[in-house]
């Protein structure tokens, strides 16, 4: 006990225990400086900001339940005869991996629940990341200074897909084995090195004896380890940048308005973890997922109909199903384009969304920090691009489930496949055009609202018999919110001939940039927001319109 208190007005010995502990920790870890900056840190409130929290919490739930599952799971492909309590499979040969998954499901009390929570949380995690990413995209939250965090999030999404895939392959059941076989076929299609990669991954020919053990270390150690690092980095950057906020009275690019971390945000966010966990636990109680006992152990010569991957792999599945079976044979080699092109496109579709912030930054040439979120309508080209990307993704999801569409809606599988092949090219373009039109329409409506006020629904009859609808003027808060967004001017190349008549060389990239800039911000691609002059002229002139 310290008897020589540095502060004579307060004896350290009499401080409450918690305070003493904090003092002890501060002397060694410097926690007070950290807390000073963060304990009352302000977090803005908006329902869409909780999407990222759903991802974080489902990730934690996956880790918690995953650790539990490793206590019982045997990542081995040794063949054993089943003697467990599930009668229909007794006496069957199966791998130890499948056997131990049955053990978790039938003999370990609560094992099935934890398995189902783990799997459901993985689906929620991926869906959450998808939606969270779209929120960030459509509100422009990826702009400077948050581009790096966008990439962190993107990597988490991609790694999450592969962690999910390696995870659901572990039980070595008929469905997942079919998925692994598909992956092997896709790897074989890679020119020159594909066969070698496949032999190295599977320790020889498919299926071999190794992939469950290898997927296991990838699934429980390698990928989650990287992801945990990325999640921590993602959160540190969220703290460091401070959260974005929507435009509104009192909210500027230089402040952040909301509730303090302690107590409100801590209670809400901490409580939300329990809400997410609780909801997933109830789902796991009532909605069966991946009943491997009904599917049976993997046999390379057997398959069930309606084989579907988990939803986040549906996009890859759609690519592979819709692609025509092109194969080129030359000089004793085969170029398996029918499989290799979908494999490449899988990367292209994802990369397209990863690099978007850098493309937009290049087009605008804007080097400022952005902390005020855009309303999607105020960035019509970006919004249209994002909507087109989602439409693309969903077309591929339809393609991935073409057999289910065929059986559930009594359609021809050939017709659906052809629809997907055409829609792959047509639907993104159509979505782009339609979305942009809608955004511009909404911008016009905002403009009308600012200039003419809100439609009150009141019909007034004037003394001379004319009927007019009364428009209520907007409050200043509303006027401010609707006119706060920044509108870019399209980039001009400028005169190509200087005052002496000497022609300046214009680089191709410069021309492309000017062209893109016009497509983003040129005439007809955004609606000029009302100016103060326009507003004054209309409101002072002839009263209501």
């Amino acid at each position: 006990m310290s008897t020589t208190a540095s502060n004579p007005t307060r004896s350290r010995g009499k401080a409450p225990a918690g305070e003493k502990l904090a003092d002890w920790a501060d002397g060694r870890l410097g926690i007070y400086s950290l807390a000073k900056a963060n304990m009352r840190k302000i977090f803005p409130d908006h329902w869409s900001f909780m999407l990222g929290e759903v991802c974080l919490y489902s990730f934690l739930i996956i880790i918690l339940t995953g650790v539990y599952l490793t206590l019982f799971f045997h990542p081995s492909m040794n063949e054993v005869v089943y003697h467990g309590s599930y009668v229909p499979l007794q006496g069957q040969l199966m791998s130890e991996a499948f056997n131990s998954t049955l053990h978790i499901s039938f003999e370990v009390r609560g094992g099935l629940l934890i398995r189902q929570i783990h799997h459901w949380a993985a689906l929620v995690f991926l869906a959450g990341m998808f939606v969270h990413m779209m929120r960030v995209f459509f509100t422009g939250a990826f702009r400077k200074p948050r581009e790096v965090n966008w990439l962190f999030g993107f990597l988490l999404f991609v790694l999450g897909m592969f962690t999910g895939f390696t995870g659901y392959s572990l039980p070595d059941d008929l469905l997942s084995g079919t998925g692994v076989r598909f992956m092997e076929g896709a790897i074989l299609s890679v020119p020159i090195i594909g066969t070698y990669i496949s032999f190295f991954l599977f320790g020889g020919e498919f299926p071999g004896h190794d992939f469950v053990a290898r997927f296991y270390s990838i699934h429980i150690l390698l990928l989650p380890g990287i992801m945990l690092g990325l999640v921590v980095g993602h959160l540190i950057l969220v703290f460091y940048h401070k959260h974005t906020q929507f435009a509104g009275p009192g909210k500027t690019n230089n402040n952040v308005v909301g509730m303090p971390l302690l107590p409100v945000y801590m209670a809400k966010a901490g409580g939300f973890f329990f809400l997410v966990f609780g909801v997933i636990a109830v789902i796991a109680a009532i909605a069966q997922i991946n009943p491997i006992w009904a599917i049976g152990p993997y046999r390379p010569d057997q398959v069930s109909t309606g084989a579907q991957p988990d939803w986040y792999m549906g996009m890859a599945e759609g690519l592979i199903r819709a692609m025509p079976g092109w194969e080129v044979n030359f000089w004793g080699h085969t170029l398996v384009l029918g499989v290799f092109i979908p494999l490449v496109l899988f990367g292209v579709v994802l990369i397209a969304i990863a690099v978007y912030p850098f493309i937009e930054a290049w087009v605008t040439g804007d080097k400022r920090e952005h902390h005020i979120l855009d309303r999607p309508r105020n960035a019509p080209t970006r919004t249209a691009f994002g909507a087109a990307w989602i439409a693309w993704y969903f077309v591929l999801l339809v393609g991935g489930g073409n057999d289910l569409w065929a059986t559930h809606f009594h359609l021809s599988i050939n017709a659906i496949t052809w629809f997907v092949r055409i829609a792959f090219f047509a639907v993104p373009v159509l979505t782009f055009i339609v979305t942009k039109r809608i955004c511009l329409g909404l911008q016009r409506r905002d403009r009308d609202k600012v200039l003419h006020g809100r439609e009150s629904g009141i019909i007034k009859r004037l003394p001379h018999g004319e009927f007019i609808e009364v428009h209520e003027p907007l409050s200043q808060e509303q006027l401010y919110t609707l006119t706060a967004h920044h509108q870019y001017e399209p980039v001009e190349i400028g005169p190509t001939v200087d005052e002496n008549g000497v022609e300046r060389k214009v680089k191709g990239t410069e021309k492309l940039r000017a062209k893109l800039s016009r497509a983003y911000y040129g005439e007809g691609n955004q609606i000029a927001k009302p100016t103060v002059e326009e507003y004054k002229e209309i409101t002072s002139g002839h009263g209501h319109h």
Binding site: N255, P263, K268, D301, G325, V336, L337, I413
Partner: protein, 353 residues
């Protein structure tokens, strides 16, 4: 929030627009930022009875959570693990899983609901504003860092002594190759492994389900029979999975007149044709047979092959026909292979040619 000090007359006229925390409205600019709206009190802020009610609600939620956890423990201890119950509309489900999941879910959810309700009704809901500072360092800091870096680099002499720099780069470039070599034993080299299966001249076709060698009369018109090579036993054979992944066979009987492909007819026996069961797309086992059209369909990606025409692809993403196995009958009247497949089975690969 020093906004409380702004004199009354500076505030915007309408009620509700109230005091500006950030900027006082510019009278000339109707679009100016009116500043943060005033804090509106909740009923719990002004009525202590309402606050008490909220307190009781929160406490109730936490209590329900405690009860649910007790329920979880009780379910774990007392419900037999193999008991199934009927619950509408879920059907027959595991009683243990249902009880544990529901109690755990309620226990967790109520903690969350209680905390959120507490935050929303009883904690202060006054909005606060924090300042943001530019991420970029000031020019002085930037200059200092650059100077420090140059100083450090200069002191290391890495620029002045290129021999050190170049040999270091060389060493760092080479050292990962050790790791690369360590990966070599992950698997054997492919060699010709993908080109051969267990099938060979004289190997009998054994029914996959009955484990009996097949005679031509066992194959009836309109049915799809799966076969494996004689001697490929599942039990006690470590290589079974790898072998069956290549050797799996499907057999159908067609009318010899219906066989359009000349070679197919040659390789058949009394209209019985044997094809690899492994799809040439990405390797799923094909299992759907349409007896009227003699089409087989892979259930994974819907590649469709015409068995009466050399199993060529008629729809879907597969790139080439299914390999056919040449069959005949041995002296005892059993179906036998007359050799291995002439081309690799399963998905195409670079060396396939």
């Amino acid at each position: 929030m020093s906004s409380q000090d702004i004199p009354e007359e500076k505030l915007p006229a309408e009620p509700g627009a109230a005091h500006g925390a950030v900027k006082v409205a510019d009278e000339d600019n109707p679009f100016a930022d009116p500043g943060l709206p005033p804090h509106e009190h909740r009923i719990q802020d002004i009525d202590e009875r309402a606050a008490k009610r909220s307190e009781r609600t929160v406490a109730l939620l936490f209590t329900v959570s405690m009860l649910a956890t007790l329920g979880f423990i009780a379910s774990y201890v007392w419900i037999p693990n193999d008991k199934s119950i009927y619950i509408w509309p879920l059907g027959h489900i595991s009683a243990m899983n249902f009880a544990l999941g529901l109690t755990l879910g309620v226990a967790l959810f109520c903690i969350g609901a209680g905390a959120v309700h507490w935050a929303r009704t009883l904690m202060s809901d006054a909005e606060l504003a924090d300042e943001r500072h530019p991420i970029e360092a000031s020019p002085e800091v930037r200059a200092k860092v650059h100077a420090d870096f140059k100083q450090g680099a200069k002191e290391s002499a890495i620029g002045r002594r290129p021999l050190i720099r170049n040999t270091l780069l060389g060493a760092l470039t080479l050292v990962p190759f050790s790791g690369l070599f360590l990966l070599r034993d992950l698997g054997p080299l492919p060699h010709e492994k993908l080109r051969h299966t267990m099938w060979a001249k004289g190997k009998r076709l054994v029914n996959m389900n009955t484990n009996q060698p097949l005679r031509p009369e066992d194959i009836s018109t309109g049915s799809l029979t799966f076969a494996k090579p004689d001697g490929l036993e599942e039990e006690g054979n470590e290589e079974y999975q790898t072998e069956i992944a290549k050797a799996a066979l499907m057999i159908v009987r067609l009318q010899p007149d219906n066989i359009k492909d000349k070679r197919e007819l040659e390789w058949s026996h009394q209209g019985i044709v044997a094809y690899s069961k492994i799809c040439t797309h990405v390797g799923c086992p094909i299992s759907l047979y349409e007896q009227q059209t003699h089409h087989v369909l892979c259930p994974c990606h819907q590649s469709t092959f015409d068995l009466s025409d050399g199993a060529r692809v008629i729809f879907g993403p597969a790139g080439h026909a299914l390999p056919q196995l040449r069959i005949g009958v041995d002296s005892e009247g059993y179906l036998q292979a007359l050799g291995d497949f002439e081309e690799p089975v399963g998905p195409a690969f670079w060396e396939r040619g």
